[in-house]
Amino acid sequence: MSDFTSGVWDYFVAIISITSIAGCAVFLKMHSKVRAKLDEQGRPQTTDHVWDEDLREYQQPMPRWWVVLFYLTVAFGLTYLLLFPGLGTRYKGVLKWTSVGQFRSEVATADARFGPMFDAFLHRDLVDVAADPRAHQIGERIFLNNCSQCHGSDARGGNGFPDLTREEKIWGGTPEAIETTITGGREATMPPLAAVVGSDDDVKDLANYVRSLSHSTHDAARASRGQPKFVICAACHGPEGKGNQQIGAPNITLAVLRYGSSVDAVVDAIQHGHHGVMPAWKDVLTPAQIHLAAAYVYSFSHPAAGAKPDAH
């Protein structure tokens, strides 16, 4: 794409560049010889310039190779402009070099080199790949470069992002489910339900009941008052609150909840809802890379099949 809207600038750049370089050569030639005054001995000793009373500049000849270096620089400059696109956007250079082209060729080289290594794992069963120490190392690097930004470098997640080291996962923990999650991404919404639940007090009662499911800190009286309202939650999270992996409704009987574990955090969830997105990686990672990343994630909850999650 052209950086300049008018083609005139191409000529402007080209003319200035070539004239300057050629001008350097002409200038050099013009100033290789000087007219010097002769001193008493009839020798052209100094340039006649005198500074600070007695400092005189001598007419000291430089070695000839020195000036040749200058001409070589000029020749280099012109050759460079002939080979590479340095004269505006119209002239592409003899080599047709572009930065994008160089990038693509480097990517192609890397793919040719590393592709077979990745592909060797693609055709193996994920459970089997998860047990391979070499695949684990590759998977770890893929995870640290692409997944750890949200899920943390130890994959244990944090507020808003699920813990991947648990066997039970929101969208399912089978090898196929993990691979599907990474490939296509996931998205789920919990709507704001305060209006359905009732008053602020009713919401607080329900939140206390949710916390009681995991025996976390809660107000028992409020919890028992809130229990009947749980049918609203059960529609997605199931009658026991164990969640529904088909629609990505998480298990809310856990002590640690994804969007905060306090009663206040649950109240907030009921009042305002939540919207969770896991982006799709199919355009970023190759199928083989996704396979390796999935195997790495799978190995956390199946340590017998892989390495310990803490030992990176």
């Binding site: 290789s32 010889k33 005054k37 002769l38 009839g42 052209p44 070695p63 930004q149 944090g158 905060g260």
Partner: protein
């Protein structure tokens, strides 16, 4: 001090324009560039090497022993001196330096620079004359040249002669020998940066990598070009140090100079030994000082920037003085003050130890001591604490707060070690992940560290804590790193 006296112009040789005539021109067109006149330095005057030339050869042997033999020594089963670029580790006998230790390189450069100032303040271009690789390799290459083509007169005659088979053979032999030395130098140089024994094996089997080949040829060519062809031109036209050192000279700096008062008026040896009665000084105008000069100057014109301080002229002149039963030292190491004020010889040296020299000495030794102490107290363990960027803090079971850190643990020793990590600085802080881990020799390992604290007791925001990583078998090998533990906003 004349720093830019004209040299070797065509006019000096008397074959230029402007010679006499009634209508001598007052102006002439001259070229600012000229083919470099070949210099044919004479090996020596007399049968044996002079005092200073002997010193120069001692330095050639010393520096070249360190250079050529250095990479072949072994230490603990590895190359003793190796600046391993691929592994990014510098081995110096028992010492292993990592890129993080680059401060020591800075220290070395500062020491080198200050030493240069010190030596220059004391006796001018000692470095140039005795130890600079340009001088040393030129010396070696000129020695080869003399072995093959003969000394000054023979070389001059050979260059003037037509291209006979003998001349081609001699020149060919010289360049072959030069290229061999150059390649060996390039090979040795690369051997400082990649294991030289492996490199030698690769070279023997012609399996050198493209970069190894390139750098061996590059340094080989640089040696051959600089020491064989460029020689004094490197000092005259390329070397910045040659030009800025005059700023470090003063009237008490020892320089190689000609005693004008004693030598002039110069005159050839006559039948009469009594030069005074003939109105002559001690200079017999033999020209040997110019013949031995590697930069082709006449030291009798005074201090010149071309002089690299090799003292070859002193040795030549002393020999001639002795032959003619005149006192030596017409050309000698002395100071401008001594020359101009008729300072007694014994005062010259005491003047050399002036405040400037004392100051340089103190600073140089101060930095050497500081670096020595710092190296001696160095702990062979480095730890970088990297926090996860997104997850500041998270809730975990038991209503606790957890923070995750990645410790980059670098075992810079050559033995494997187990390390224990401890965390302090906050009530109830405990380590939830494994507190002990093993790191192999010269390995870097990333360890995920999980710290927990009771949720109720952690103030929101950043809380300063300190991690300590300590070798299980050596309490002295310990590193403390400051970091923060984030509490959740309530």
């Amino acid at each position: 001090m004349r720093t830019d006296a004209p040299r070797r112009r065509a006019h000096d040789r008397g074959d230029g324009a402007g010679a006499g005539g009634a209508q001598a021109p007052t102006e002439v067109v001259i070229s600012l560039y000229e083919k470099r006149p070949e210099i044919y330095p004479r090996a020596r005057v007399g049968a044996s090497l002079g005092r200073f030339q002997r010193w120069r050869w001692i330095f050639v042997w010393l520096t070249q022993f360190v250079f050529y033999a250095g990479p072949w020594f072994t230490w603990n089963g590895r190359q003793a001196v190796l600046f391993h670029l691929v592994q990014r580790k510098f081995y110096l006998f028992g010492l292993v330096l990592w890129p993080q230790d680059v401060i020591y390189l800075t220290g070395l450069l500062v020491i080198s620079a200050l030493s240069l100032f010190l030596f220059t303040a004391v006796a001018g271009r000692l470095w140039c004359g005795y130890a600079c690789p340009q001088t040393v390799y030129t010396e070696i290459f000129m020695w080869i040249e003399r072995r093959i083509e003969g000394d000054r007169a023979k070389r001059m005659a050979l260059d003037r002669s037509a291209w006979t088979a003998r001349k081609v053979a001699l020149k060919g032999a010289k360049h072959a020998a030069w290229i061999a030395v150059g390649l060996w130098t390039g090979f040795t140089f690369v051997g400082f940066f990649t294991p030289i024994r492996e490199l030698a094996a690769e070279a023997l089997h012609l399996e050198l990598g493209p970069w190894e080949t390139f750098w061996i040829l590059f340094y080989g060519f640089a040696t051959y070009g600089n020491a064989g062809w460029m020689r004094e031109q490197v000092c005259l036209y390329m070397c910045p140090y040659a030009r800025f050192q005059s700023a470090m000279f003063d009237r008490d700096t020892l320089i190689i100079t000609y005693d004008n008062a004693r030598g002039e008026p110069r005159g050839a040896i006559g039948r009469s030994r009594d030069r005074r009665s003939r109105g002559l000084g001690d200079c017999v105008d033999c020209g040997f000082c110019m013949q031995v000069c590697p930069t082709g100057i006449d030291i009798r014109k005074g201090l010149q920037y071309e002089c690299i301080g090799c003292a070859a002229c002193i040795d030549a002149c002393d020999y001639v003085m002795r032959k003619n039963e005149l006192p030596v030292g017409l050309i000698r190491y002395t100071t401008m003050r001594a020359l101009s004020s008729k300072q007694p010889a014994r005062d010259v040296l005491s003047h050399v130890f002036r405040p400037r020299v004392v100051l340089y000495t103190v600073v140089v030794w101060g930095i050497i001591a500081a670096i020595g102490v710092s190296l001696a107290l160095r702990v062979p363990l480095k730890v970088d604490v990297i926090r996860d960027r997104r997850a500041l803090a998270r809730e975990v079971e038991g209503e606790r707060i957890e923070n995750v850190y990645r410790l980059q643990v670098m075992n810079t020793s050559e033995q494997p070690h187990s390390y224990d990590v401890r965390a302090a600085g906050m009530a109830g802080l405990l380590i939830a992940s494994s507190p002990r881990f093993d790191v192999g020799p010269e390995q870097t390992q990333t360890v995920v560290l999980r710290l927990q604290a009771p949720g109720a007791s952690v103030p929101p925001g950043a809380n300063r804590i300190e991690l300590q990583v300590q070798a299980a078998d050596d309490a002295a090998v310990a590193v403390r790193e400051k970091t923060v533990f984030f509490g959740l906003r309530r």
